[in-house]
Symmetry: C2
Subunit: 338 residues, 2 copies
């Protein structure tokens, strides 16, 4: 068993924290009595608006720094009990700029691990992704933690992103074996919720549908919409991050997904309904120039291991999650264009 | 179809060329009438001894440079028709130094691709590896180009190495799609042969067995030796590299393997026999501190696609290949300790 970091009284650093997952996790850690929550962000993708709702808490600290700069991380991790390393680029950014994308996801993670080891951080929570299983025709059925990485038929950026997450997990494992760093890797399903951004190919379906139907336009679905997507609400992800710190679990990768998957068509209909609109989806032919994430049949990101090991299970289903996202948006929440 | 680069009269750059595969390929390209063969090496792992046998050919050029330095690659690729990008670290070096290892394999490849695109190189041959299918219990049966990457149960360094090769292939694909770079990725089985080095966990079996039996010691096998290994002789790899240049094939990854796999025990017995010794293998318990590459059952790296697409097939079986390796060694060839 590894180190447990109780939330109450402990000091946490969240890299890439001015973000969807970072803001929800920081809020939860503060609510649960954390001694300090430092949000580190380069604002390459993050935004100050994402953490506006928790500003003013004296335990919250903002560190403008870059995970590509090891000296900044050495300073920022000093005295920290737990580090949540969210700073990463996803497939759309990876497509635009693989040079930067691989630097952030790989060298950035090496820097964070180095800083954690040097400063004796008790536990690192490393956000991995369902992308660690890949995409394309090979993806079908239950994805469990031992499922291999499928890349045949997937776009380069999605494979680069998935492989960068596999590398991140293994860098944690290497540091655990050689330097005793305790870590938990969490393979998030597609995260959605309040403070949604436009950077994830799958989550775009939610926000783009909402944007269109609010303007009275029919929602759009690429192809027949029968393909499976598995989402997880950001509040459940925040709880999983906290549970990974508080648990004695170490040297393990665990799936973190919502109660059940949906098809794209079901999702688009649900968003349309909850936005209060009665508009039929229109079906578009795929655009080969865009990153599109496909699978080979119905599939599910199985979260049974997280339940057994962390005592965590998702609480927010898609209807409730999308209701919350829309409520946030309709009370002035601005989705970030970056 | 992509660009074909005929060997006769063309100019080639071989990064990481002062090596097992580089030296054999450079020799073959020269024999087949190449106009120029430039060997680029940082001598981080390469050695001048590895290219001693072709020194003196006026068409051979040695460039001491580092794939981590883009300006050096921009200069070295100018006017080149084909680039073979061998510079990489393998799993044992990756285990010792993952920081350097990922830099060389990923940023090094990004630099080579950038230089090829800027200078209009007609074709890049990217050496990938059987490691792109991973290791551990998931590896069994025929490995074909669509087989996913298995990592459950494998050591971190082997996964880092395999994932870095997957990333290299996808960086080539991305450059093909966005910038028109023609490339062929070749997934080599474990390469062995004259000018063998000590850097590959699997190939070590050959040279370590030879070293022991020549001193009259019993050869050693970890475990029962029943696990499968699939090798390919360096002369066949050199022919595959040349075939990839000369063919119009592009945007494809192809397995390059020897005629058939062997078990570790068969291999150790074969090396012992060809070294002229009559010594029984002794079986050792696995050492958990060493990188060990396992599989789930008998397997084979299928080279049918390379035969269909490149018209290439292996010609050197293990008996002949090991005979050649030993003949080289017994006429003064020094295996490189690096």
């Amino acid at each position: 068993m590894g180190a447990a970091v109780p939330i109450r009284g402990s000091r946490f650093l969240v890299t890439g924290g001015a973000s969807l997952v970072g803001s929800a996790t920081a809020q939860l850690l503060l609510e649960e009595g954390a001694g300090e929550v430092a949000i580190l962000d380069s604002f390459y993708q993050g935004s100050r608006e994402a953490i506006g709702h928790i500003e003013g808490d004296a335990r919250l600290k903002l560190v403008e720094a870059d995970v590509l700069r090891l000296p900044q991380l050495l300073a920022a991790t000093r005295g920290m009990d737990g580090v949540l390393h969210l700073a990463a680029v996803m497939s759309l950014t990876m497509d635009r700029d693989p040079w930067m994308g691989l630097s952030v996801n790989i060298r950035g993670t090496q820097n964070v691990i180095e800083a954690c080891c040097v400063n004796g951080v008790k536990k690192l929570v490393f956000p991995s992704s369902t992308a660690a299983y890949g995409y394309g025709p090979g993806i079908a059925g239950d994805l469990v933690e031992e499922t291999p990485f499928h890349s045949a038929g997937a776009p380069p950026a999605a494979i680069l992103y998935g492989a960068s997450k596999i590398i991140g997990e293994q860098l944690c494992r290497d540091a655990h074996l050689k330097r005793g760093l305790d870590y938990v890797a969490l393979r998030y399903a597609t995260v959605y919720g309040e403070r949604q951004h436009y950077r994830a190919a799958n989550a775009l379906y939610i926000i783009e549908t909402y944007d269109r139907v609010k303007r009275g336009l029919n929602p759009q679905v690429i192809g027949d919409g029968s393909e499976t997507k598995h989402f997880v609400h950001v509040a459940d992800v925040a709880r999983a991050n906290a549970a990974a710190f508080a648990s004695e679990a170490t040297d393990v990768a665990l799936n973190i997904s919502g109660p059940s998957p949906v098809t794209t068509l079901e999702l688009v209909r649900l968003v349309t309904e909850l936005a209060g609109k009665d508009l039929e989806p229109e079906h578009l032919a795929p655009d080969a120039s865009k990153v599109r994430l496909t699978s080979g049949g119905p599939w599910r990101l199985d979260h049974g291991a997280a339940e057994r090991i962390l005592g965590w299970r998702p609480e927010v289903d898609m209807r409730e999650g999308i209701r919350r996202l829309i409520a946030w948006r309709e009370t002035g929440g601005q989705t970030l264009r970056v």
